[in-house]
């Protein structure tokens, strides 16, 4: 009981110091609040901008012009069909953005309601070409939708009737849309959240441990009646609070952006998902706080602590790239047991609206386990003279 009372005194004192530090306020609270919305806004804006450019005009070439698909595409203002001798050279040089290859008997097959071959080639190294593929695919889907829903008696009737202009923005809901922003969203947000949960507590952890050694305040503190365990717990609570607040401000920034964003590209997050996200953020912050404090306690000075903490922050963002193409419906037990990777997996799962409560429980239990291990190691180190005094 006495230990927790002392830990509370230390925690409250550390909080007071944090609140009075403007730098902590700006980097720990204001920046995470602004950073995620700013990045999402830029990504959303640039994606829309690129899409807009591609939507204005897409140069394509076709291997076979004597068919209904050519008539359909030719009727669209956005699509310009041009003649090229070598489609690969034209794609590489950017003369065309896509090359469409279709079965020669496409119209006969359409009349008979049979499948036909249709292949769209594009330049993978060109953003313009990739974006054009989206547009061409949307028109392809519109074409498929028309031929599936209307009866065409003859080839001539098909070629004539299908040459209509389609407004994709007003197209029926059945037309699929390729969503590039959500790809960025599912990668950026977990990364930013993990980074801020980690970095939010890093400064505080270094300050309350290594910083205390450097300023000469540790020795007077050790000479008081406070036990070493209460000192570590008090400092862990303060570090965790900062990490949690930083993480929650990141979530708050995300939530705020989703609320005010008019973008249809951004996914909807339900209240339940948001609560799950907050819960996970709290535990992730606790984990990083304990890890950062462990590093801070080991370090001789604030600078040395920063030297160790910076690579930790960077390493934490690396698994985000591995999970870029991760299908949230295929997250296995192995992914849920690997530190950091499991945090990213569960955040992605929550953001995709497919949160699995068993997965959530497994990750939270692992996080609690990591916190206990870090706390145990920190306490052991803090009781060692060679670490506290770095003799």
């Amino acid at each position: 009981m006495k230990m927790f009372r002392q830990a509370l005194i230390i925690f409250l004192k550390e909080l007071k110091c944090i609140v009075r530090d403007k730098k902590t306020f700006i980097f720990g609270l204001l920046l995470p609040l602004m950073l995620v919305p700013s990045m999402l806004f830029i990504v959303d804006f640039s994606t829309k901008n690129m899409q807009g450019q591609v939507m204005e005009n897409v140069n394509v070439a076709m291997d076979n012009k004597d068919n209904s698909l050519y008539n359909f595409l030719n009727a669209q203002d956005v699509i310009t069909i041009i003649d090229v001798d070598d489609f690969q050279k034209a794609l590489d040089s950017g003369t065309i953005s896509a090359y469409i290859k279709v079965s020669k008997d496409i119209d006969e097959r359409v009349i008979k309601k049979e499948n036909f071959d249709l292949e769209v080639k594009y330049n993978e190294s060109s953003i313009n070409s990739v974006m054009a593929l989206t547009t061409v695919s949307q028109y392809e889907n519109a074409y498929r939708y028309l031929i599936a829903n209307y009866d065409f008696k003859t080839v001539d009737n098909l070629r004539e009737s299908i040459a209509i202009k389609i407004d994709l923005s007003q197209a029926e809901e059945g037309l699929p849309k390729i969503d590039t922003s959500s790809l960025y969203f599912s990668m950026l947000v977990p990364m930013m959240l993990i980074l801020y949960c980690c970095m939010g507590s890093a400064g505080t952890a270094a300050d309350v441990s290594a910083g205390e050694k450097e300023r000469g305040t540790l020795e007077p503190l050790l000479s008081t009646g406070a036990s070493r365990s209460s000192i570590v717990i008090g400092k862990l609570l303060a570090t965790t609070s900062m990490g949690v607040v930083s993480g929650l401000f990141t979530v708050l920034g995300l939530w705020g952006y989703l609320l005010i964003s008019s973008s249809s590209n951004m996914p909807n997050i339900s209240a339940f998902d948001m609560i799950s996200l907050i819960l996970v953020t709290v535990f992730i912050s606790m984990f990083f706080a304990s890890l950062n404090l462990m590093i801070g306690v080991y370090s001789k000075s604030y600078k040395e602590a920063q030297t160790y903490l910076m690579p930790v922050s960077i390493m934490c963002s690396v698994p985000t790239f591995f999970t870029y193409a991760l299908d949230v419906s295929h997250i296995g037990i192995l992914e849920l047991c690997v530190p950091v990777l499991n945090m990213i997996c569960i955040v992605k799962e929550i953001l995709s609206g497919a949160v699995n409560l068993i997965h959530l429980g497994i990750v939270i239990l692992w996080l609690l386990f990591y916190v206990c291990v870090s706390l145990f190691v920190t306490l052991r180190m803090f009781k060692k003279e060679s670490v506290v005094f770095r003799i």
Binding site: R20, E219, F389
Partner: protein, 244 residues
């Protein structure tokens, strides 16, 4: 009352202290004189229970530093010279209150004691200002107040005049004299011969972790001139190995 009994301390392969023994009576100031790295701070850290001795022990007011470290800490106040160790974002009052609370005082006891110390050391004018902007002398006063907030009967001063101007140093030494009058046992470490000669009753000269001389300052002053005492001390520290 402090009894240092055969204390040795080893850091890896280095012997920081070897078989150090001496006593400090109530109302007595014992000065620890030695060069940088002689082992003075290590000894004070052992007495204040921050470090454990490799062998030997110290008894502070009847409490053993190994067996009863918490009781020892209740009886010991420590003051550092070069680094006052204050929290710059807390006010002077909050700094002292923090240590009072950690030493087990309740709110009422804490308020009474802090107000008394603010009055005693005359810093009511800036008691509620953050200490970050204070001069070294002002900080030293607050550090002194903090070190005695739990009213310890033993005071340890680790190079208290280091880095201080004459006025701030005088504040520290006046406080040390006041502690002596209150009957506290005091150990005061320094590498300044003048400070040790002027303020200690007994002097323990420590060199490379060994006690090379322990003598009564008053009797030495009666036997030798200032210059002779300085020469004796200089030779002890410079040729300490020969005197062991």
């Amino acid at each position: 009352m402090i009894s240092v009994i055969n204390i040795s301390k080893r850091f890896g392969k280095t012997d920081a202290l070897t078989d150090v023994s001496f006593d400090v009576n109530n109302g007595e100031i014992v000065g620890l004189l030695g060069e940088n790295g002689a082992g003075k701070s290590t000894l004070l850290r052992i007495i204040s229970t921050m470090l454990s001795p490799t062998s030997g022990t110290a008894i502070v007011n009847g409490y053993n530093v190994i067996e009863n470290p918490k009781d020892v800490r209740k009886n010991v106040g420590i003051l550092f010279g070069s680094e006052v160790g204050l929290y710059e974002r807390l006010t002077a009052r909050e700094n002292i209150e923090y240590f009072a609370r950690l030493n087990g005082m309740n709110k009422k006891q804490c308020d009474d004691r802090v107000n008394y110390l603010i009055e005693r050391f005359s810093f009511a004018d800036y008691a509620d200002k953050q200490v970050g902007s204070f001069s070294k002398g002002m900080k030293q006063k607050i550090a002194i107040a903090r070190s005695i907030v739990h009213d310890p009967s033993v005071m340890l001063f680790d190079e208290p005049d280091s880095g201080l101007d004459f006025r701030a140093a005088r504040t520290v030494f006046d406080f040390m004299e006041a502690c002596k009058k209150e009957g506290k046992s005091i150990i005061f470490s320094s590498h300044s011969m003048e400070s040790i000669k002027n303020y200690s009753d007994r002097m323990v000269v420590i060199h490379k972790g060994h006690i090379v001389k322990c003598f009564d300052v008053k009797s030495y002053r009666e036997q030798y001139t200032e210059r002779e005492i300085n020469d004796i001390l200089f030779n002890l520290v410079c040729d300490g190995d020969e005197n062991v």
